[in-house]
Symmetry: C2
Subunit: 211 residues, 2 copies
Amino acid sequence: MNAQISDKTVGRLSLYRRLLSNLLREKEEEFVFSHRLARAAGVTAAQVRRDMMVIGYNGSPKKGYAIGDLIESIGYFLDAPGVQTVALVGVGNLGRAILTYFAGRRPNLKIVAVFDNDPNKAGTVISGCRCYAMQDMPEVFKEKKVNTAIVTVPASQAQSVADTLVAAGVRGLLNFAPVNLRVPVSVYVEDMDITTSLEKAAFFARCRMAS
Amino acid sequence: MNAQISDKTVGRLSLYRRLLSNLLREKEEEFVFSHRLARAAGVTAAQVRRDMMVIGYNGSPKKGYAIGDLIESIGYFLDAPGVQTVALVGVGNLGRAILTYFAGRRPNLKIVAVFDNDPNKAGTVISGCRCYAMQDMPEVFKEKKVNTAIVTVPASQAQSVADTLVAAGVRGLLNFAPVNLRVPVSVYVEDMDITTSLEKAAFFARCRMAS
DNA sequence: GTAACGCTGTGATTTATATCACAATGCACT
DNA sequence: AGTGCATTGTGATATAAATCACAGCGTTAC
């Protein structure tokens, strides 16, 4: 795919798209200026314009960006043609919460299967998703063409789950386990470490108290 | 507090600490080399040494870093003296999952109160935390000296909740709502946007498939 | 006692990321 | 049609973050 597109840029594009959708729905506006979108996203106007450059979308001076077109352009850039399927591994509290959160949210990014090593859960349906046993992974992934997975298992199991996922053909991981997953360079890992994030918030809260 | 300590560094320190604790518990080792810790954390050895500089911890050549001492030094740097209290706002699926996740995990960073605007929940106890009504915030925060909060409310309510929190004296926020919170510069916000993260993972998964 | 090794600590450098600043553009108003 | 003006697109620049590379030192081996 594209030459060298940064992590950060992709994240902002995803955010822009959601903000734009809200704008379109709530305000019924048709155009938006870079500084307006920037303020909503918490970045600078120049940053927004640079990101537009990356996806090759052109606004018009004096009018700004056509919201509908822009959403479509971002989608064209970010999304797979058709529906992209995702699996979730580890149906604990967090896994279930995330499953519920995404149920029917983004139409073209769909959680189609969940896995757990508790044999009692296999065969059941959780938030509209069929739960499978771990060993069914290769088969299910092949059938449903899954290439992205969410990992919500305990830290101790995360690496072996990641290995299984990679072996089954997954190339993108969203990892909630507080460990650094060792994967081939051909696999992308996005870490969400809640403990670290909370400790950061707590640390800087104290810093700000002092000043 | 300290001059100019970066976000990223604080995050890594938090991670190092957890890795070191595991090392101490599992392997019974006493010293660790920068390259070993680096590999576990998924960063370079130079990065680890630079981070040690920041907290002013000195290892010894040939032996490395004394794990016990280092954990203590990181704690001395990151943690409040005594217990730091945290509140959680929004007891939906995600809020409950996070509450359970943190219950009794880090001894000196404790969720001591939860808030929800559902009047039926006020007065109940969820995962060992008393649930209060929104309007009790100033009082509870003052009594329990809360300066950090986790926001797990729907996007539409996030800004007004943030305003209330800031007014009640909170200086650090861990925000799960997919919106950019507008807060004074004296308040630190750490965003965890699950949707964006999943879209990033999905995007790069496709990129890697192509190559 | 001393020589050799491998690690730490850190200045210098590179790379990534964000901002600045301004020419080019096209709409609005006359 | 022409002028003014606020906005875009983007090269140049600044800032932040990570890496390199090597001097200095403690440990170990002999």
